[in-house]
């Protein structure tokens, strides 16, 4: 026992070093951003409070109230556009047949306006911290957009703050399509330029041109279809592979994020339930 203590005393600093290195590696290799403990993120109460103070000082110089008001109005208008778009689609379908079922409500999406209190663009994995949390109705895996495009999805939610996985994070993949085309691909950041991302896995037969708009496909419960994401950049390479990988100039300016909207899908639970086959089939014909 004495020898053990002697050994420990002699190599104490190595033991301490190994302990801290191991602890750091555990945090480092826990790659799933949805599993980070809330306390260890910028959405924790203490971190949020620090950023809130910093944000209050900075936003004073950037006309915070005016921006928030404009953003709120934008959110209302955006919701209206989505509702009208869906209404038009319903009317189009009704023109073909009068037997189409019509939903009672087309208001699938609501928006929660939030302020960005922390944002990073130069790390390998970037996150955004918002000043709205569970008390305001924010839940994990809700989409986040700003006035120009998609920003990311909520990953950790505290009572007053939430953390968003930015589009500038390789762990985040966004299902997108080229506007007026039905072929979809996956948008992911390659870590080089915070104003650009890659649209991968786009089928080879897709017709596109540089400057075409890339929008969300709507193949998830997170973002509504048709939200602008970016434009295809000119590419002189010859594509020989079966799937295209295109460089996209993002609409959202991540270096100037200020006010954002959190997308609340009112039918999300039902959609997820259907997709995971947990819904009870109530159709009597199937019995």
């Amino acid at each position: 026992m004495k020898e053990f203590f002697e050994f420990f005393r002699r190599y104490c600093k190595w033991v301490v070093l190994l302990f801290y290195v191991a602890l750091s590696c555990i945090m480092l290799f826990q790659s799933d951003p949805y599993r980070h403990h809330l306390f260890l993120t910028s959405a924790s109460t203490l971190s949020g409070a620090i950023y809130k103070v910093g944000h209050n000082v900075v936003s004073f110089f950037s006309l915070r109230e005016v921006n928030a008001d404009l953003n709120h109005r934008n959110a209302v208008l955006e919701a209206e556009v989505l509702n009208l778009r869906e209404e038009i689609n319903r009317m189009k379908l009704a023109g073909f047949t009068d037997t189409m079922p019509t939903p009672d409500s087309v208001a699938h999406f609501d928006f929660i306006v939030a302020n960005v209190i922390n944002n990073s663009i130069h790390h390998a994995q970037n996150y955004v911290t918002l000043d709205k949390g569970a008390i305001d109705g924010v839940k994990p895996e809700m989409g986040v957009i700003d006035h120009s495009g998609v920003v990311g999805t909520v990953s950790a939610v505290g009572p007053h703050f939430s953390r968003v996985i930015s589009l500038l994070n390789p762990n985040f993949r966004l299902s997108c399509k080229i506007k007026n085309s039905e072929n979809f691909g996956s948008l992911v950041w390659d870590g080089i330029d915070p104003s650009e991302a890659l649209l991968e896995e786009l089928p080879r037969h897709t017709v596109f041109e540089a400057g075409d708009t890339v929008v969300t496909s709507g193949f998830s419960a997170v973002f509504p279809p048709g939200l602008p994401v970016g434009v295809i950049m000119p590419d002189n390479r010859e594509h020989k592979e079966n799937f295209f990988t295109l460089r996209v100039k993002l609409f959202a300016d991540f270096s100037r994020l200020s006010n954002v909207q959190i997308v609340v899908n009112n039918f999300r639970d039902e959609l997820v339930s259907v997709e995971t086959n947990n819904v009870v089939n109530s159709d009597p014909a199937s019995k």
Partner: protein
């Protein structure tokens, strides 16, 4: 509580929020990131107990990780930086006898020696942080550019802080 301990606590309380709120947003040309909080580690007294130094280094990195959403990156790099602090110091200063309980600063170790010591430590830290991040996304050109630009930018700010916070007659070792 000694004057050094109080100074370190004040530095911790100022540098960590400053790094999170101010310096993290002061990125030049999207490549030069000022990692100024390592000033705390660089200026830890050389004669400080090894385990205590490592604990301070780890907690400093962890605090930055929590505020910057970089789980483990700065905690790991700060711990290793604290560990290599003494060998790097002795590259430029042969003996630490005169430095008992004193922090390595231009005033205590001489400007030339401090510049070399702080420059080496900054370069090591920047290389470690960007190497750890390169596990996730690797681009050699971007990696080298970030290490070089961030080291220079951080070093300039650290030297400015050292000169501003510890004026006085220089002592040559």
């Amino acid at each position: 509580m000694s004057k050094t301990a109080i100074t370190l606590i004040i530095l911790f309380l100022i540098l960590i929020p400053a790094q999170a709120v101010f310096f993290n947003n002061l990125v030049l040309f999207n490549v030069a990131v000022p990692l100024v909080f390592i000033y705390l580690i660089i200026t830890l007294p050389i004669t400080l107990n090894d385990s205590l130094s490592l604990t301070i280094g780890f907690l400093t990195g962890l605090a930055i990780d929590i505020l910057s959403d970089t789980p483990g990156v700065n905690a790991l790099a700060s711990t290793i930086l604290t560990f290599v602090r003494k060998p790097v110091f002795h590259l430029y200063v042969s003996s630490d006898i005169d430095l008992a309980d004193q922090r390595p600063l231009p005033r205590t170790m001489g400007t030339a020696a401090f510049l070399k010591y702080a420059g080496t430590m900054t370069a090591i830290y920047c290389a470690m942080v960007f190497a750890i991040e390169a596990f996730q996304i690797f681009n050699l050109e971007l990696f080298l550019l970030r290490v070089a630009c961030s080291s220079v930018f951080t070093f300039v700010i650290i030297y400015a802080i050292a000169c501003l916070t510890s004026p006085g007659r220089e002592k040559r070792l």
